[in-house]
C-alpha cells in the first residue's frame, strides 16, 4: 500500500454558473494532519463534500487506499472509513447525547434497535469531555458542548480519515487545547486528519502538510517545515500581504453617546460603561463571555435590568425599531440568519433599516431604491452582478458588505458590530475594517464585539475585557498592551497580575 491514503486527481466541480473547484490535484499522507486553507468561497467545503459523498463531482478521480472511490452518500463514505465534522452544527436537540452519537450507526435487526453496548460512546466521551453525560438531552448543553458531542460522533465511527471543517469556530481555549491533544492521539493511531480553519495560528501549530486553495484552484501543497510563517500562508491565499495597524481616532471625551449603568440579565452581570463620540470601543472575550448579549441589550433586542442612556436619555430600550430611530445600528453575528434576507435582491435589502431614504409617506420609490443600492455598491465596493442580484448568490464577505450598506443607510450615530468579520476571508476583512474606520471618521462611534484579538487590536481605541458576563477591565489600546495579560484576564485569571 502506498503511504497516500487519499489521492485527489484533477477534481472539478461546477455548480450552475460557478466553478467551485477547477482541476484540483494533491495527495494526502496517511497518519498526517493535512490542513486545507483558502479564502471564503475558495472551495474547501466543496472538496470535503465530494470526499464525503454529499456532492457528486463533475470530473476527476479520487483514489482511497489506492482504489477508485466514488461514495454515493455520506453513509457510503462513513462505511468506507471517512468521517466528517461538517461546518454547521449537526446535532439533534431533542435526542440524548448517546442517541446523537449513535445516530445512523445503530445496530438493528429489521429496524429494531438492538441493545448495543454503548461502552464505546462512554469511552469516547470521557476521553474528550467527561462532564457530558450520555443520558443528557442535547438541548441542555451549551453550544460548545454540542460541538464536542459531534466530535465524539466522528470518533465513534472508527474512521480511517476524519475531516474537520472549522471545528474550533465556537470552542473555548480549553476545548481547543483538548481537541488538539485528541488530534495528536488520533494521528499516533494512524488516523489521518483533514483540518480546515481560517485561524492560521492553529494551522501553524497542527499541520503536517498545508494545501492552499484559491478561487477553486489548487495553489500549493507544502509540508509544514517548508512554511516560513503566517505571512507566507496569507500571501499564498490572497496573493498580497496585508499589514494591520491601529490608527487612533479623534475622540470627544465630553460627549457620551451611550452610557450603560448596571445592566444585567440572564447572562450579564452589572455591565457599566460609556461610549464617547468618535470612539471605537472594543469588547473582547471568549465565546460565551456575553459579547452578543451586550450588543443585543443596547440594540433593544433583549430585555435587561438597569439603565441604558442614549445621548443622556433613558431609552428603556424596547425594540430594535426604537434603537434604529435613536441612531443605533447592529451588524449581527450570524450574517445568513440575522443579517440579510438571502432570497431578496441587494436593492431590496439595502433600505431595510431605514425606508425613509427610498420612500415618501409609506410609498416606495423603486428608482430611488435602485439608485441607493448602486450608490453603496460603488461606495464600499460590493462585488456583484448588479443591484437586482439575490444576496444568496454573493460570497460571505460581500454579503457582509450588504449588511454594512443597510447600516450606513441609517446614517447611524452608533455602530454595533458583532463579529464583523466572522467567516470572512482575509482580503474582505481589510476592506470591512477600512469601511468601519471611514464611518468613524465621518462622525459616528462604534463598538466592536469580537473573539479575534487582532481585529480588536487593529481597530479599537479602548478595549473591554469580558469574562462570564462581567466586564473585568478596560484597557487603552496602545503599544503597551500585552496580549498575554489580555488572554489571562479573559480566561478567568486574576485581574492585576
Amino acid at each position: 500500500m502506498s503511504d497516500h491514503v487519499l489521492e485527489i486527481k484533477n477534481i472539478s466541480k461546477h455548480f450552475a454558473g460557478v466553478k467551485a473547484l477547477d482541476d484540483v490535484s494533491f495527495d494526502i499522507v496517511r497518519g498526517s494532519c493535512h490542513c486545507l486553507i483558502g479564502e471564503n468561497g475558495a472551495g474547501k467545503s466543496t472538496l470535503i463534500k465530494i470526499l464525503t459523498g454529499a456532492h457528486p463531482k463533475t470530473s476527476g478521480t479520487v483514489l482511497y487506499n489506492g482504489k477508485d472511490f466514488n461514495p454515493a452518500s455520506t453513509k457510503d463514505a462513513m462505511k468506507a472509513g471517512i468521517g466528517c465534522l461538517f461546518q454547521e452544527l449537526n446535532v439533534v436537540e431533542k435526542l440524548r447525547v448517546e442517541e446523537n452519537i449513535c445516530l445512523g450507526l445503530e445496530e438493528t435487526r429489521f429496524g429494531i434497535i438492538k441493545k448495543s453496548s454503548n461502552q464505546k460512546v462512554f469511552d469516547v466521551l470521557r476521553r474528550i469531555d467527561s462532564s457530558i453525560e450520555p443520558k443528557q438531552y442535547i438541548e441542555e448543553l451549551s453550544v460548545a458542548k454540542r460541538q464536542v458531542v459531534e466530535m465524539a460522533k466522528a470518533l465513534a465511527m472508527d474512521s480511517d480519515v476524519i475531516i474537520m471543517d472549522e471545528p474550533t469556530a465556537s470552542l473555548t481555549e480549553e476545548e481547543v487545547k483538548r481537541l488538539f491533544e485528541i488530534i495528536h492521539d488520533l494521528k499516533s493511531q494512524g488516523i489521518t486528519i483533514i483540518y480546515i480553519s481560517h485561524r492560521l495560528e492553529e494551522i501553524m501549530e497542527l499541520a503536517d502538510y498545508v494545501t492552499v486553495l484559491r478561487d477553486g484552484r489548487h495553489i500549493a501543497t507544502k509540508p509544514r517545515a517548508e512554511i516560513s510563517g503566517r505571512q507566507e500562508l496569507i500571501q499564498m491565499m490572497i496573493g498580497k500581504v496585508i499589514v494591520e495597524d491601529y490608527v487612533p481616532n479623534k475622540i470627544d471625551e465630553n460627549i457620551k453617546l451611550i452610557e450603560l449603568k448596571g445592566v444585567s440579565n440572564k447572562k450579564l452581570h452589572n455591565i457599566s460603561f460609556d461610549l464617547h463620540k468618535g470612539e471605537i470601543l472594543g469588547f473582547y472575550g471568549l465565546i460565551g463571555a456575553g459579547k452578543t448579549e451586550i450588543a443585543r441589550a443596547i440594540f433593544g433586542a433583549d430585555k435587561y435590568a438597569g439603565t441604558i442612556l442614549v445621548e443622556g436619555r433613558d431609552v428603556k430600550a424596547v425594540s430594535p425599531e426604537k434603537a434604529i430611530t435613536n441612531g443605533i445600528v447592529l451588524v449581527p453575528e450570524e450574517r445568513r440568519t440575522q443579517g440579510i434576507c438571502t432570497s431578496l435582491s441587494i436593492a431590496v435589502n439595502t433600505p431595510m433599516m431605514n425606508y425613509r431614504t427610498v420612500s415618501h409617506k409609506g410609498i416606495l420609490n423603486k428608482k430611488q431604491q435602485g439608485r441607493l443600492a448602486r450608490e453603496y455598491i460603488e461606495k464600499i465596493g460590493t462585488a456583484c452582478r448588479d443591484e437586482n442580484q439575490s444576496v444568496a448568490f454573493l460570497s460571505g464577505g460581500n454579503q457582509q458588505k450588504v449588511v454594512l450598506s443597510k447600516c450606513l443607510n441609517v446614517s447611524p450615530k452608533v455602530l454595533l458590530l458583532d463579529e464583523p468579520t466572522r467567516g470572512v476571508d482575509v482580503g474582505a476583512k481589510q476592506e470591512i475594517y477600512q469601511i468601519i474606520r471611514q464611518m468613524v471618521k465621518d462622525g459616528c462611534s462604534a463598538i466592536v464585539f469580537s473573539s479575534e484579538l487582532p481585529e480588536i487590536l487593529g481597530l479599537c481605541d479602548r478595549i473591554g475585557l469580558l469574562y462570564d458576563g462581567e466586564i473585568k477591565m478596560f484597557l487603552k489600546n496602545d503599544e503597551h498592551v500585552e496580549t498575554r495579560h489580555i488572554m489571562s484576564v479573559v480566561t478567568g485569571g486574576v485581574e492585576n497580575e
Binding site: 455520506t74 461538517f86 449537526n90 446535532v91 439533534v92 436537540e93 431533542k94 435526542l95 438493528t108 434497535i113
Partner: protein, 322 residues
Amino acid sequence: MRNNKLSRSTQKNLVLFVILLVLCAFFYSQNNRFITVYNLTNMVRQSLPNFILGCGMTFVIASGAIDLSVGGTMALSAMLYGYLCIWGINPWLAVVIVAGFGVVVGIFNTVIMEKLQIPAIMATLATWIITAGMAMSVCKAIPITGPELKPITVLNSIKFGKIPLALPICIVVIAVFLFLEKKTILGKYAIAIGGNDAAAHFSGINVTKMRACFFVLTGVLAGLSGVWQVARLGSADPTIGTGMEFKVVAACILGGVNIKGGEGTVSGVMIGTAILIVLTNGMQMMDIGSFYQDIATGLVLLASVLINSDSVGELMGKKAAA
C-alpha cells in the same frame, strides 16, 4: 434539574392526562351516563380512524412534514375496497390490497415531495385533491353497497361481552406504534429528521427513505381506516374521511407534537385525540348543539398551542418567579 430532564415530554403528557380526567369528571357530573362501558367503548368505536391515524401522523409531523392527504386516501381506499368486494375478490384479501394501495399513496406523496422538491403541505394537499376527487368520480359520488360488503360489516358488530372489537384493535395499534417509537429506528429518526435534517443526513440516514416510511405508514393507516369506515357504514361512501386531516393534525398539536418537527410522542397524541373526542361526546351528552362544538374545538386547539408555546411559558415562568 435531574427529574426535569427525564420528563419534559412525560410531564406534558401528564398534564394532558390530568386535563382529560378533569374533562371526564366534569362531563360525568353533568350526565352520569357519560361513564358507562357502552359510552366509553363507543367513543373508541366512532373514532378508531382518529386514533390510528394519529399514531402515524405523529411520525410524519415529528419528522417535520405533514400529511393532509389522509382524508382523501381514506375515501379512495373505501371506494377501492367496495369495488374489490363487488368484483368478487375475497374481502380479507381486499383489505390487504387496500393496505398496498396505502403504500402506493405514501410513496406518491414522498416522490412529489422529495423528488419534485414541493413542500409537504402543498404536495399532500394536491394528493388530497386528487384522491378525494377520484373517490367521488369513480362512483359519481353515489355510495356503493351490496351484499358483498356484508362480511366486513361483521367487524363492527363483533363484541367480547360488552367490549366491541374496535377497542382491542385500537389497543394493539397503539401498542405497535409505541413499540415503533421507542424501540426502532423509526421513532429516533423521525425526531432526528424533524429536529435537524442536515444532521440526520450527515449521520448517514437516508432521509428520503425514512420520509417514505412515514408517509407509507399514514397511507396504510388511512387505507385501513377507510376499510374500517366501510365496516361501520355498511357501504363505501366517497365522503368518508371528510375533514379527517385537520382533526388528526389538531389532535397531534394538542398532544404536544411540534408542528415544525423534532418533538412529539405517540402517547401524547393519543391523549390529545381522546380529549377532542371526549369533548365532542361530552357536549352531546350535555345536549350542547354541534355548532358550539366547532367553537370549542377551536378554543381548545388555541389554548393548547398557547400553553405549549415558549413565550407564554416564559411569561408564566416569570409570573411564578415574581
